[in-house]
């Protein structure tokens, strides 16, 4: 009974923490576009507030610069269980254009924290982000919550 209730709550109310680990800011702007009336992210019960302490989903953008190596782990440990990490855009997946020879980015993000889902594009369209979050996030969080028990 309690589990079923928890499942419903977890599925219908998702708190997102957006972390830019040193990218060009393009993906962040696409996420901000999601909050606009045209896409209206909050109608799906998704709330972006940039606080890892109450986040269910950590949305990582950027190619992990030197300073972010440690801080990324800190943010990850701060988020309560169950949590889902989504790598947004090409930077956290492969380093993208920043991963040139001799550069000091430390992509991919999965070297530092476990990544559950990847979303490619540079940047991905807001509709793609929305589609991906809605397809993966609710189920994944609920599943993780059950798994922990």
């Amino acid at each position: 009974m309690l589990d079923a209730l928890k499942d419903i709550v977890r599925k219908s109310s998702i708190h997102v923490c957006l972390v830019n680990s040193g990218g060009c800011n393009g993906c962040d702007i696409e996420v901000v576009a999601l909050l606009s009336p045209r896409y209206d992210l909050e109608q799906y019960g998704i709330y972006v507030h940039n606080n890892p302490r109450e986040a269910d989903v950590i949305l990582v953008t950027g190619a992990v610069t030197e300073q972010w190596k440690e801080n990324l782990r800190r943010i990850y440990t701060k988020a309560p269980e169950p949590k889902v990490v989504v790598a947004l855009g090409n930077c956290p997946i492969s380093g993208d254009v920043f991963n040139q020879e001799g550069s000091s980015v430390n992509a991919p993000v999965s070297d530092f924290i476990p990544v559950d889902a990847e979303l490619s594009g540079c940047p991905p369209r807001p509709s793609e982000i929305l589609e991906a979050i809605l397809a993966v996030a609710p189920g994944a969080i609920a599943a993780k919550g059950r798994q922990k028990k």
Binding site: R38, Y39, D40, Q43, N90, I93, S94, G95, D96, V97, N99, Q100, E101, G102, E118, S120, G121, C122, R125, S127, L130, E131
Partner: protein, 342 residues
Amino acid sequence: MSSVIWYMYEFARKSWAEKFAGAKSEYEIMEKPDRFRDFPEVFKEYCIGCGACTAACPAPGAIRLIRDEDTTDHDGLTYPEISVGACIRCGFCAEVCPTDPKTLTCGENHLIREEFTILPVDKMYVIDDYLCIRCKKCMKSCQVDAIIEEDNKITVDQSKCVSCGDCTDACPVKGALKVVHIANIDEQKQIIRLIVDTLEKTIENRQEEIKKLPHDKTFKMEYPLATLKEKALDIINKEDMVQDLMEKMTDRLKMRILTWDKDKCNNCRLCVNECPSGAISYNEEDGVKRDPDKCLRCSTCYQTCPFGVAGYYVAKFRMDQNIDEEDVILITLKPSQLPVVE
């Protein structure tokens, strides 16, 4: 009190309740518009394995030439493979792809389409829409009103253009207004081939010095322009065209140089299978051999080899005068910063 009653009345209305219950996003926002440039599409049967797409790609690791397994009937196909996790959908690969029909297609890009002129001229003026800043200085300078604005794009009406060249003087952006020599295409190709071949040979003749180059230093050398120009003039005797061609070439040319240190080779044959064009072969007598004519200069062998047999350098060129005021081509060679296993 009255406002509360108003709210209750408002919420009790049937149309409001229906809208509230059936609220959903419009489907159209989830669709990509026609102009959206999606990931490139690969038609692998057209590929000639030139490697132009890998050189043009701004994202390292986004595009890679791979080669199918050879069968008894025919050689395996060489073709580009797009990694979706690194591609930024810029469409540069589709733009530079020289095959016809194109191996890579990628939506709309700033491709210059071929047009033809009815005047017997050997120069054509085209505007690169990608670089054009729409200052319209060329429009004002044009004496025959051949430059027009259409859909917020400045274009040259080829049926009106008289090839006077006033617009190039007026244009403030380097490269936005391009002068294309449309006559003597074959001769131009010959000259380009001649320059590239001689420059590469000159660099490769000094391999021994280049190999000793430390990682953070650049190697500079000069090549006298006079002899090269003489040879080019032998191919076609048009001074201004040759000069223009050489300037543009040296400006844009970026050459990848591969050195091969046979003494270090331990015949491990890791590179043989990795090579996308099949330029590296192995047999018992000669060991591992690299065929420079087949080589694409993709640097895969450099990244694969655990013994440092292959060296990988990038050369850039510029036309300049040296201390004795002779015209020379300045060659700058830089070792690659790609990580390599020591």
